[in-house]
């Protein structure tokens, strides 16, 4: 089996614990002065890559784990975190603070990066929690012409470059099988990401971080989509509590549901 060269795209997003607020101009959410961290699904991707190496689950071993992020200078924070978790090196594609890259642009960038880095496995979060597009992995697979296994809850390696991926679907699990090179996107049940330990934070400082621009990958970042307006969802009406089953039934009857 080929040795794995894993590419792990990561994104710096508003921390999952922060309640996002729409900005005054209604063009997006407020990001200034808001705590940011690594997209939780990307943490799963980094963790999975490191576990594949540590557990020696791939017969050919893991030759390289490279994390890549496109974003402003602060995106280097999440790259360092990923390296503290165990990635070998990082590529930072610097963009201007207001550059909002669309999924297709990111997929094109990752295609160029995967080719340049001779990657044979790309593990992405299934979506980023800021715009929840859930498109990049799929688009990347399409552009590269590689097989894709999305929303993975389990990844296993077999002989002859075969990878089995289990994914949770309504009413059970589905297992898909494909051959390297391939794309995997991660879902919540895949693993529990580790905390970066302090000695590893220090080691990560010494790992290489390459700085690039979109132009280095031949990408222009043109926009195809236009955001017209962003608004808060309407406030939820509070639900009512019922005491017991009888209460529930009478409530449902009252609402004309049964």
């Amino acid at each position: 089996m080929s040795a794995l060269r894993i590419l792990v795209p990561v994104k710096r997003v508003i921390d999952y614990a922060v309640k996002p607020r729409v900005n005054k101009a209604q063009t997006g959410v407020e990001t200034a002065g808001v705590k940011h961290s690594m997209n939780p699904f990307d943490e799963l991707s980094v963790e999975e890559s490191v576990r594949i190496r540590e557990k020696k689950s791939a017969p050919g071993g893991v030759e390289d784990i490279c994390v890549i992020s496109a974003g402003p200078t602060k995106a280097q924070d999440v790259l360092r975190t990923a390296m503290a978790m165990g990635a070998d090196r990082a590529i930072h594609v610097e963009t201007k603070p207001d550059d909002d890259l669309e999924p297709l642009t990111v997929a094109k960038l990752l295609k160029a990066a995967a080719e340049q880095q001779k990657s044979n496995l790309v593990i992405l979060g299934k979506q980023s929690i800021d715009d929840d597009a859930n498109q990049t992995g799929q688009m990347l697979a399409g552009l590269l012409g590689w097989p894709q296994a999305t929303q993975a809850s389990k990844v296993e390696f077999g002989e002859g470059d075969v990878v089995s991926v289990t994914r949770e679907v309504d009413g059970g699990v589905e297992t898909v099988r494909a051959k390297l090179p391939m794309i995997i996107t991660t879902d919540l049940r895949l693993n529990e990401p580790r905390y970066a330990s302090l000695p590893n934070i220090m080691k990560a400082k010494k790992k290489p971080l390459e700085k690039k621009t979109l132009a280095d990958f031949g990408i222009t970042g043109e926009k195809r989509l236009k955001v017209l307006k962003v608004t808060e969802p309407p406030p939820r009406q509070g639900g009512g509590k019922v005491e017991d089953v009888d209460g529930l039934i009478s409530k449902l009857k009252e609402l004309g549901a049964i």
């Binding site: 975190t81 330990s197 302090l198 220090m202």
Partner: protein, 443 residues
């Protein structure tokens, strides 16, 4: 601005290494007594080597962290919130540190913050340790003090004064699996630390220690003890010497465990030494220098306790404001919206910010090799006062919910009281500050 500070700091670090690598005067070198006196005059005892002055550096806000310190804050905050927080209440009720928490602290590298990488530690700077102690205290001051004592007193002592053999033997353990404890106080000597009565008698192959210690933090979990004993009581404090005692040594036993008002999960015990034979190589540093080591360590240890107190104050404040600004309504509005509450909340946060400025300024001065003794004393004094005040008010803001043992408000308040007592009481800090001021203003 921030990336600018970041870019700058490595340069400072480099210049620091240059100084410590060269033959800068060491305050504890016995060969140059005159130089010792001279340096001491300028800089009261500290464990930090002097460094080049910072005149060329543009000043930055005290609250700016380096990349490593930010990563430290981030990692510890996450770890404390996810792993420690669910256990805080139970550990307090049981008056016992959960052994898995201790294990995880080692795994995270939090017990070897400043231990060099070659010995299995993280090799971080002093302020990074302070950041970690503060973050832990926001969640649990008991866990925080364990990490504080282990790092700022025990590890530092071995790093600074341990022989090569001692460092090689003990630092990897202290970084990965052995909790350390610092044994100075005795039934008869607290604030008057150097009146200690524990004796060490020199024999052919080592020392025999007799006596007892009291109020010893970490003593239940620890397997490594730095013990101060007098080898020559006629010489007074100049006979005080530091020894390393292993838990298994014959005649050494951990006696009564104290039941306390606060930081209940942190163990505090009485230790007895009954003809404990300590091998010669377990002498830490030089004979008769123990009092210098203790003063130096406690001076910087105070910054750690001050950080524990600012962390505690922040934790108590956040816990309460989340409740009054999101949950509790009276008279048709959130209680945090009444002006009487808002002014108290704002006043408290201002005091916390002021205390943190003192803490981080003291830490930075220590790292810069400047005299920080008064800064550390002021930071510890003020931070413990703020912690007591803010955590007390926080209980009141939350009303009944602050008073019950369901949440953490009342615990923060109980935990805050120790801040005015250990590592130098508030009155001792005031003495130190006044003494230094008087020296400066005496013509």
């Amino acid at each position: 601005m921030r990336s600018f500070t970041r870019a700058l700091r490595p340069a400072v670090r480099r210049s620091q290494t240059v100084v410590s690598a060269s033959s800068a005067p060491r305050i504890c070198s016995s060969r140059a007594p005159r130089a010792v006196a001279a340096v001491q005059g300028a800089r009261p005892l500290s464990t930090t080597a002097p460094r080049r002055d910072l005149a060329d550096m543009p000043p930055t806000p005290i609250t700016h962290f380096s990349e490593v310190e930010s990563a430290m804050a981030e990692a510890v905050r996450k770890f404390a919130g996810d792993v420690i927080l669910p256990k805080v209440r139970d550990m307090d009720e049981a008056e016992k540190m959960d052994p898995t928490v201790v294990e995880q602290l080692f795994e995270q590298g939090l017990m070897g913050v400043e231990i060099p990488e070659e010995y299995g530690g993280a090799g971080m700077n002093f302020t990074a340790a302070i950041v970690g102690i503060e973050e832990l205290a926001r969640v649990d001051p008991s866990v925080s003090v364990m990490v504080d004592v282990h790092n700022t007193l025990v590890n530092t002592a071995v790093i600074k004064w341990g022989s090569q053999a001692l460092k090689k033997k003990y630092l990897p353990k202290l970084a990965t699996n052995t909790v350390g404890s610092f044994c100075l106080s005795e039934p008869v000597s607290g604030s008057d630390a150097f009146a200690l009565k524990t004796k060490a008698t020199e024999t052919a192959d080592g020392y025999v220690i007799n006596g007892s210690k009291m109020w010893i933090t970490n003593s239940m979990e620890a397997e490594f003890f730095i013990v101060f004993a007098n080898v020559n009581p006629e010489q007074g404090h100049r006979g005080i010497t530091a020894f390393i005692v292993d838990k298994g040594m014959k005649g050494f036993n951990i006696a009564k465990k104290e039941k306390k008002l606060g930081i209940k999960a942190s163990s505090t015990c009485v230790l007895n030494f009954d003809d404990v034979l300590v091998p010669k190589e377990n002498l830490l540093g030089e004979k008769g220098h123990g009092y210098k080591y203790a003063i130096g360590l406690l001076n910087e240890g105070r910054i750690g306790i001050a950080a524990q107190m600012t962390g505690l104050a922040l934790g108590a404040w956040e816990n309460a404001v989340k409740y009054v600004w999101n949950d509790r309504k009276q008279f048709g509005k959130l209680v945090g919206e009444f002006q009487g509450m808002q002014h108290q909340i704002a006043q408290s946060y201002t005091e916390i910010a002021a205390a943190r400025a003192l803490v981080y300024n003291a830490a930075r001065k220590k790292e810069a090799g400047e005299d920080f003794v008064m800064d550390a004393a002021m930071a510890k004094l003020y931070a413990s006062q703020v912690a007591g005040r803010v955590s007390g008010l926080a209980v009141e803001w939350m009303g009944g919910m602050g008073f019950v043992r369901e949440g953490l408000a009342e615990k923060f308040w109980r935990d805050s009281k120790i801040g005015a007592i250990y590592e130098g009481t508030s009155n001792i800090q005031l003495n130190t500050i006044a003494k230094l001021l008087q020296k400066e203003y005496t013509v």
